[in-house]
Symmetry: C2
Subunit: 280 residues, 2 copies
Amino acid sequence: MQSPTTLKLELTQVAGSFKPRGAFNSILSQLDRAKEAGVIAASGGNHGIATAYAARQLGLRAEIFVPVISSPVKQRRLRDLGAVLNVVGDNYYGALAACIERQKQTGALDVHAYNKPETLAGQGTCGRELNWQEPGLDTVLVATGGGGFIAGIAAWYAGSARVISVEPESSHCLAAAMRAGHPVDVSVGGVAADSLGATRIGELSWEICKRHVERAVTVTDAAILETQGLVWQHLRMIAEPGGATALAALLSGVYKPLPTERVGVFMCGGNADLSVLIQP
Amino acid sequence: MQSPTTLKLELTQVAGSFKPRGAFNSILSQLDRAKEAGVIAASGGNHGIATAYAARQLGLRAEIFVPVISSPVKQRRLRDLGAVLNVVGDNYYGALAACIERQKQTGALDVHAYNKPETLAGQGTCGRELNWQEPGLDTVLVATGGGGFIAGIAAWYAGSARVISVEPESSHCLAAAMRAGHPVDVSVGGVAADSLGATRIGELSWEICKRHVERAVTVTDAAILETQGLVWQHLRMIAEPGGATALAALLSGVYKPLPTERVGVFMCGGNADLSVLIQP
């Protein structure tokens, strides 16, 4: 019999994903600047929601840039949180370019989604928390986008558990970097693009991942969608595609643990479009 | 500042509601009979799913009767669990009549949804569990259908916490019984009818409720639907209408706790039709 699997439910986190951990840590570490000029961020959606959420909790102005592929659910949530929302660019990088331009004008605190030590350290608290809640795991599975989440988690475990990266075949910048031995550009698309669609692993993340991530596997979009459906049908939880990606590696057999291996899976986001989960 | 509220998340329970507690306890207490002739139950849906789930786990045959108002989501789940499904009757009582008739033919173990001591005792484990997880609550809010869940919980607390019943205005058999001083028939309808739509409080439940339930309040269907939406938007959890009913009393102000009052809310089911939660 397989050892039980532990799911870390960041899909019920405030703002619907793990991202507030990094956003709060970034903002609180430069709070004077943020109070003076507000905060600004570019995002596929979840980091923007987290930044807007943190800003609202701290009484700060927030301006968020998301690309047109960002889901309507996420855009609505951003508006509900009172952020100034700019929908611009075909993908994350288009939104990021516009964000950088605007930041020069306003001087707002730039809360980068992943390439910032404070963001990485904040995300890493999720690994620390799981380690406290479920000590002694052999392996943890983590979905990788720009690499902020996995780098934070890998920095925490630092070899004390096997850290496995899981990416969609359709967006796999860490697997490509590990093959090449350095960050490279990849094409981006597929069902999880709005949360995991990074064309290149962040430099800071790469420095940590190359040391402490044992392997980077990929899963198909079909496996991600099937996992998303199974999570709703059997666990009555809602995972967005990016939030179901790490578990998809286990359910599709891409990652096969030993019978005695104790596995933790980060279910990292729940800002899903419910319409895709409706069954006939 | 209001004391924090504790939510007991039975909406993530196996089979999507608290009902497996009672179903397992009923079946395990007469397992020889169940092994011989299978189990049979009538249900608005959730109790049937729980009975089918328990039967599958225990390797038993299950035959389930649900009324035509039972949601397609629940009917699908019943089929997936391998139960013989009969969709019959305009409401729970129509399904129950057909179930009783059939039970006489097959001799299967009748797993009644609420009017059976083993069912009530099983449901009561949810109160015991919350009391263990969050000791010292002043008040717990519980949605009432036929009364099995609230009776089990009220029997557990037995005055050590204030137990408040919450029903939809559209189905309120316990509020009506408390007004009349004895069980009476009420009309049944509204958004939570498939989980809370009982025309009369069960006799066993009434004996416990009249002693240990302090008050029976009602909420509007609109308040239930609004709560269901807020639970998804802010907590990223899915409650079905009946599962959002107890919390609706708090959010709509029908039950107003004192600032220092520590309140627990049973979120009792998550077998929702996701289509009602989709926003434009």
